[in-house]
């Protein structure tokens, strides 16, 4: 029997262990507890009443949006579907916990979208971020398929809300689910339960057993207990590797250790590296990620939305040398917020400071920990540890460079700009002269990484030799590199997860049903 054995020491990672080891550092250990097909040990510790023995039609790895969509999609065709969620119940759902809306093509105005958003416009928006889509065919498919996503979500228990407020002004293009991502997950998990889909929490996939061009068995660590699960098809929807600092450091150097991760500690790319070991072809850029500016005081993991800083378009942003380095008013915030994670990641010490004054405090969401404030610029410099003279000089240069006579309007590109600076501020430039002054230190907050596995239009994972796995599919962030190269479009991660979760689940089930 052509079984290539891939057994590794199972390491149980907990939330208290911030730096999961790189897989390459793990001991390969074929001597310890080899579980062969047919000899599966009896599983006692199960989540709910899940019976993990016997063969599953489709096993979905992951517990976020893409995984759950894939599971439900597969369950429409086959009986035995299993979801392996690595996190414990309380923090289930991966990065989806922190999401809030989904960006889909829609023709009509309705209670939840304030205007139509047609195929061409979404396609243009996608092409205008970063260097455009990685694979145009798959990106086109994503945009086309997005139109039926909201209806599908509603049918599977998702509730919506009218876009009420917030500063992102996404009410036309994006559809908001009631209560945000965790509420969405709760609805989906309830639907899973109603559809008799098994969910196993605290279940970390640590190895694949390959037979020919199929993965037939999964080695899983369930709350510290190792077991083997038999699968006819596998959907990998386990996210990126953003929580793995050593992996990030391969491409970003030591500066990666100054990044903060907006999602859970579990997204360390274990499954992605297992797929690479099996010869899966990488897709997407090594340094591709969605990152935003977040409060430097945020926790290392899982700070989510509340730590994001939206002050930038109305501020002046300085690096640790007290210099401006990027046009804060380049474009509307929803189109530009995602460039700031990388902007700050590329500065010395991976830190930057936003400074604003009392005129604009109502224009953006208040920062969670509160900014530091002072009646003088010197006081502000002192509070964030910058050289007061340098800071005052930068601010006064900026103030005098503002071209007078253009009215400030936060709702559109107002053209209130500077002249003679490098770089200029091209919109919303107002003098910083009305105390109290405010400042906040920001770091790159990594949302998810783009580099993943290459798939075909059926979500089937491709190998470097040009062939495909027969029964391994991928959805969500683990394959987002097929669509996104750099830059990000608010709400599009959910779109990718929903579209490809649906395709991956359906195709996995079709493969199983022959």
């Amino acid at each position: 029997m052509g079984i290539s054995r891939r057994y590794y020491t199972i390491r149980h990672r907990s939330l208290t262990r911030p730096f999961p080891p790189l897989r390459s550092n793990r001991t390969i250990d074929t001597g310890e507890m080899v579980v062969l097909p047919g000899e599966s040990e009896t599983i006692t510790k199960l989540s709910g009443n899940t019976d993990l023995s016997g063969e599953f039609d489709v096993v979905v790895i992951g517990g976020g949006n893409a995984a759950l969509v894939a599971a439900m999609s597969a369950r429409h065709y086959v009986k035995r579907v299993l979801v392996l969620e690595r996190a414990p119940y309380e923090v289930r759902g991966g990065n989806t916990r922190h999401t809030r809306n989904v960006r889909c093509v829609h023709q009509q105005i309705d209670a939840y979208n304030t205007g139509s958003y047609l195929y061409e416009e979404l396609w243009d928006d996608l092409c205008n971020i970063g260097s455009g889509p990685s694979n145009e065919k798959l990106a086109e498919l994503t945009v086309r398929e997005s139109e039926s996503v909201p209806g599908w979500m509603s049918e599977h228990g998702v509730l919506w809300q009218p876009p009420l407020s917030g500063t992102l002004h996404l009410g036309r293009t994006n559809r908001f689910f009631l209560g945000g991502g965790k509420a969405l997950l709760n609805s989906y998990y309830r639907t899973l339960s109603a559809m008799s889909i098994n969910v196993s929490y605290g279940s970390s996939v640590e190895g694949f057993i390959e037979q020919g061009d199929s993965v037939t068995h999964l080695l899983v660590d369930i709350d510290g207990k190792r077991c083997q699960i038999d699968a006819r098809a596998v959907v990998c929807a386990s996210g990126g590797f953003e929580a793995n600092f050593e992996w990030l450091a391969r491409y970003w150097g030591d500066s990666a250790y100054n990044y903060l991760i907006r999602g859970p500690v579990y997204n360390d790319g274990t499954v992605l590296s297992l797929l690479y070991d099996l010869g899966a072809e990488p897709a997407g850029q090594e340094r591709g990620f969605h990152a935003v500016a977040i409060d430097a005081r945020s926790p290392r993991f899982d700070g989510g939305i509340a730590t994001r800083i939206d002050a930038i378009p109305f501020s002046v942003v300085l690096n640790c040398h007290g210099e401006r380095f990027y046009d804060e008013g380049e474009d509307l915030w929803p189109k530009r917020y995602a460039v700031w994670g990388t902007n700050i990641a590329l500065q010395d010490n991976q830190i930057a400071y936003a400074i604003w004054d009392s005129k604009v405090v109502r224009e953006f969401l208040p920062p969670m920990y509160g900014p530091s404030s002072s009646m003088t610029l010197a006081g502000i410099a002192d509070s964030i540890g910058l050289d007061p003279d340098r800071l005052e000089r930068t601010i006064s240069e900026y103030n005098t460079a503002i071209v007078p006579g253009v009215a400030f309007d936060p709702t559109r590109l107002d053209g209130a700009h500077t002249s003679g600076l490098t770089p200029e501020k091209s919109n919303w430039a107002q003098p910083i002269d009305q105390p109290p002054y405010y400042a906040i230190a920001m770091r790159p907050g990594i949302t998810f990484t783009y580099m993943g596995v290459k798939i075909d239009s059926n979500a089937k994972v491709q190998r470097e030799d040009g062939s495909c796995f027969a029964n391994v599919f991928a959805a969500g962030e683990i394959m987002s590199g097929n669509i996104l190269s750099s830059g990000y479009l608010a709400g599009f991660g959910l779109t990718i997860g929903s579209v490809w979760g649906r395709i991956a689940g359906r195709e996995a089930a079709r493969y199983v049903s022959g």
Binding site: H98, P162, L164, S165, L178, G179, Y189, V361
Partner: protein, 385 residues
Amino acid sequence: MSVADPVYRYRNDQTENALFVEAERQLNICNSCRYCEGYCAVYPALERRIVLDRSDIVHLANLCHDCRACLYACMYAPPHEFGVNPPAILAEVRRTTYRSQAPWFVRKRESVRVLASFPLAFFSTVFGIAIVVMLIYVGHGLSSLFHTLDPVGSPYAFISYETIITVSLVISGFSLVFVTAGVITYWRETRGPLADLFRPGPWARALRDGATLRNMRGGAEGCYMKENHASSERRILHYLVSYGFLLCFVATIAAAIEQDLFSIQPPFALLSLPVISGALGGGGLVLGSLGLLRLKSTQEVIATDGPMTAMDRSFLIALLTLGVTGVATLVSRSSSIYGFVLAIHLAVVWTCLMLAPFTKFIHFIYRLLALVQDNLERADKLAVR
């Protein structure tokens, strides 16, 4: 930097100041997230504020109808290190609102304990008053307690109309003083100008919000008394209790009108307005309070504040007693125990009336004031600061 420290500090410092510091910390996280804005009026009201002070927190707490949808939708809820739990912290803040209305001699002595032991206070007061009522009966001879008196089924065979009215008015006056003082203090603290309290538009909308319990819909699914289980149960039980209570009130007014304007003396006919509304109201009170007591006993503890639940229970037990004794009075009115049952019921009514300002009875008043304030803010489309 971790924010776990403030949580720890708060848990180890049970002062009111620590409570408000912690509430502000949690609400600031909510205000930078805003995912819950579709659930109820609290979150849009929070978004109208950039900096929160004590009065804002008091207002938001009383605006909260405790549907708990936000807790289960929150990715920052425990065990997350941010430890966000709005229903619990806002319930704790509401408790300070209710407590602040207690007279100074109670407040000074950690009135939470007094309020939490309300069933004891309630039943001992009932007992005391019942004795007094029975003493009044002695005019008819002590044996009258267990005998029918003429006219059969009329309370006035036992105790005079004048006595009932006088005692009721005195107790109502006493309660009204405290409730009014509470309303004025609360309004001054959360809104300011008393003139704002007399604007008809916001009042109309507040009454509609209050009458329909719009904010108990939790966005769409109702209240989450348990994780993964939302339902309209709590809202419907609230309808039963509040409209039941209202019907009992209608019964009393209708009885007074029949007596004083049409000279119809009790006992009223079975198909008369006082009897029908009294029976329906009493039934609503009993069913509603029993249902709510059951909900409280099966709810998830993390979502609420322990002493508040104790207050809720006491209040519900009082309402249940009110309903049960009221129905018993109606049912037993031509039997030999009518005198005894009537004495107990009168004692319960007067006790409820007397203790209302210091117990959960007044919660609907502050909720209504918060709704008026909310509708004022929306009408003015004004940021508060």
